[in-house]
Symmetry: C2
Subunit: 148 residues, 2 copies
DNA sequence: TATTGTTATACTCTATAACTATA
DNA sequence: TATAGTTATAGAGTATAACAATA
């Protein structure tokens, strides 16, 4: 395989979480490098990846999805809006809320982001059995449940 | 279970990576809150968790483990050193390198961090089958391989 | 010349608190 | 009063580049 030791081996001491964080760092770093032409920060990439399905979201919904506080989300949206990737509109029915919608340019960028995500994912998962992927999803869901 | 939709469901569009990042955010946030008494930032928690086994590391080794550039690692180590959690010593054999060693106080803090990691991990994994955990590890290893 | 680590700079992310507008 | 979002402030994470010490 490789000369470097990855150490995702068994153990009761929290290795499951350490491995989780290493994988997140490594993948986000690679994606940022792959998408360097778009000049996006990791948080901006994350936001576009979540908005890529075209469904409008409120600020708080997006913040929950990307794991950012409202104050951080506002900053991310400021930059994406200034660069023409999205617009902020009032939400009909509750005018306290802001509805975030991608522009045509934003949809193109988001599609590129999604392709990079999917590409890395496909490369990684090609070497893994489907039941392992199912186990991976089960553990992530359990971690999400335990973390509240 | 819960009213909130977590959506780790199937899909070819990069959901594997989005779910990974959400889980990382959620767990690190909970751990930071659980360890609030130690007054540590997420990066400092991560550094201590990696150093907890007692094995000395160089700056670059630790940086690779926590996913930080040398410049970031230096800042994290500055704060941990100032607070008495570790010392920097010259590495015998290559005096360009710096060997990081936990102090007694640092070992105590690191042990607390490890316990929090292990506790959250145990709570989450209690609801998951062993073969799912094995699949989880396999996918993380594959993601790590694909991300280089 | 190359490598290890630090420093300098600028920008982004984060938490907290205060604020506006709406409910 | 409560909620959604923004703004202000300060501290922490990040990349880039320049630098000193060592190899």
């Amino acid at each position: 395989m490789n000369t470097e030791t990855v150490d995702t081996g068994p153990g009761p001491g929290g290795e499951t979480l350490i491995a989780l964080q290493r994988a997140t760092h490594a993948t986000l770093h690679v994606l940022t490098a792959e998408l360097a032409a778009l000049k996006l920060t990791p948080s901006e990439i994350n936001a576009l990846a979540n908005l890529a399905d075209g469904r409008p979201r409120t600020v708080s919904e997006l913040g929950a999805a990307i794991g950012s506080k409202p104050t951080t989300t506002t900053g991310v949206l400021d930059r994406l809006e200034k660069r023409g990737h999205l617009i902020r509109a009032l939400k009909p029915g509750d005018r306290r809320s802001v509805r975030i919608e991608l522009t045509a340019q934003g949809r193109a960028a988001a599609a590129t982001v999604r392709e990079a995500f999917a590409g890395l994912e496909a490369r990684a998962l090609a070497a893994v059995r489907p039941e392992d992927v199912a186990g991976y999803r089960a553990v992530l869901a359990a971690l999400g449940e335990a973390a509240r």
